[in-house]
Symmetry: C2
Subunit: 358 residues, 2 copies
């Protein structure tokens, strides 16, 4: 920590308290969430509203095909400030970072397939925008704590399982290359300028408020939709691939814990699930829960096979040991809450542009 | 190699011939050099002109403060085609890649210090432009062989010496992060689309036609200028740091060998010097050769210390074994040729904008 800053970050969290969900360290603080109308960002914003007395600001570009959805915050709209703007615009981000205590930096593109179709756009969203944010903090708010969400995709195909933070980095697509560059930016700004950053490498997150109107942002949301629609869940290679699935509330817990702890600065943490699940098991569980949907086994399409990573599950031992985090939601519980949510809110998620900002 | 391409690349080179400088494999071929008015690019263009019957096209944006200098090719101007254009412009690059056999992809920013001052510009030059080139090749010329010049900076601080290609990647500045991303782009396009690429990781290259009008593109050129001006060569930390120095003609040899050999596709090769040299020894040798200049030892300035990597020298064993390359020019020989060149051409290198394109 740079000299003179010792007194600016007394926010160390008590893990037991944190996992029980109070997060009172955030009371009276101001929080900026980039990508805050998206899946994880909106769940985080809602949790902070529950904490109470938190000044929550959201910036989201609401780019078509990305995860931003105004409905995600419709019932807490009067308790958060929303800027529909691109954080790659430095006039915007320079203004927004001023004076905030925490920045949850979730904006970015997450689609591996989209990144191969339009690599330049992926670079703009995952590299250029991140540089703007970090430069804004360096120049206008060197005290803010930044929590950056990276991805397991930076590891590429696993050499061993479970994958820990020492695993070699070998991204297999443009998205993974750019997310890795953005991690490195964050760690570099920490090392050179003392910017207070922590990176979390997320695996497959699922839950309410995820994008479901196309299938290019991960398989879980699409499986859920197919099951609920009584459609066909396509399994490539018989669905034997094992993955971590983490319920979004558990991810939000990790974000808040990592933000509140000063000991996380300059660190990277994996977020893995409680237990790896095969895609076939996931599909069967969804069919059981919804009472609908069927499975169809297919050979891998070329464009997916080339960037597929086989089995993947991460070790969360580091964040468990250091911050007391663990995935607490069982797959059955998480999926049934998710299905229940979409049953009630189908109209806002089944099609794009179904809702606008109140 | 994608099916059907087997007959398109019969350009495997005979190493003995190559190291002796004939490179007849390039005769009758067309070559595009990005950044071709710069230091290494112009030396490469001149060599190809010497080979004879090579259709040499240069694209260079001549960006202020970068290495492009029209004087570098003034005496071969009528034997090369020059486009003063930014390869980040896809209208330009889509047009230029059409039909060429080889692309020596040298464009980019090389200053570690500049990259920290303007990270966004470094991203445009080292990431965005590279994506445009690779997309252009994918769409309009999937047969071209691309030789990309990366940098030892991707390794960061060495964990062991000499650094081989298996050394862990940990760039310490924005430039290193972006050069690594660009390497990964090239290897990804090879893997996914069959683009014919090879990456060379250069260490410290020196010789005629380097930028000498500011000191932000590496220490060697600046040391040479200071010695020739009878000025002060500043050594940080007593100049004990050891580095590889590779004379530009040897680098050009490596580029041509790597371009001509089909076995290099998808590979990365280090280019190290014959023997590591301490900065103090380099300074003393320059003072001896020029009969001028003095040494002053100084503590490291903060902005340099934070991105300095200590001792660094690379193992070239892979390219020596596989392609028969080795650094052939001794330091004394290379430096004396360099000093002689600048003595005769001082007016074109001591100040920016000293020459324009004929």
């Amino acid at each position: 920590m740079p000299p003179g800053w010792e007194n600016s970050a007394p926010f160390r969290v008590d893990c037991e308290t944190a996992m029980s969900g109070s997060f009172s360290e955030y009371k009276g603080r101001s929080v900026l969430i980039t990508g805050g109308l998206g899946f994880i960002g909106s769940n985080l914003a809602r949790r902070l509203v529950e904490v109470g007395d938190v000044d929550v600001t959201i910036v989201d570009a609401l780019l078509p095909g990305q995860g931003g959805n105004p409905h995600n915050i419709h019932d807490v709209r009067d308790r958060v400030t929303v800027h529909t703007a691109n954080m790659g615009n430095d006039w915007v981000i320079n203004h927004l970072v001023g004076g905030v205590d925490y920045i949850f930096n979730l904006a970015g593109s997450v689609s591996h397939l989209d990144s191969m179709v339009d690599p330049h756009l992926d670079m703009e969203l995952n590299c250029a925008a991140q540089l703007k944010l970090l430069e804004a903090c360096r120049n206008f708010n060197p005290h803010a704590k930044i929590v950056y969400t990276s991805t397991r995709q930076v590891y590429g195909e696993p050499v061993y399982l479970p994958v820990d933070e020492q695993h070699r980095i070998a991204p297999l697509d443009i998205n993974g290359i750019h997310k890795r560059a953005a991690e490195q930016y964050h760690l570099l700004y920490h090392r050179i300028y003392g910017t207070r950053v922590v990176c979390l490498r997320l695996t497959n997150t699922y839950g309410p408020r995820q994008l479901l109107h196309h299938n290019r942002q991960g398989f879980i949301a699409w499986f859920i939709r197919q099951a609920m629609d009584g459609g066909v869940i396509e399994l490539f290679g018989e669905g034997k691939q094992k993955r971590d699935l983490v319920y979004v509330d558990d991810v939000v817990n990790a974000l808040l814990l990592a933000g509140a702890s000063a000991s996380t600065e300059g660190e990277i943490y994996n977020l893995g699930g409680a237990e790896p699940v095969s895609l076939a098991d996931l599909a069967n569980e969804l069919i059981r829960l919804t009472g609908r949907g069927t499975i169809e086994s297919k050979p891998f399409p070329l464009e997916r096979r080339l960037i597929d990573i086989g089995n993947f599950y991460a070790s969360s031992q580091k964040i468990e040991t250091e911050l007391g985090w663990r995935a607490q939601t069982s797959l059955t519980q998480g999926l049934s809450q998710t299905v229940e949510f979409y049953s009630k809110n189908r109209e806002y998620y089944w099609n794009p542009h179904a809702s606008t900002l109140p």
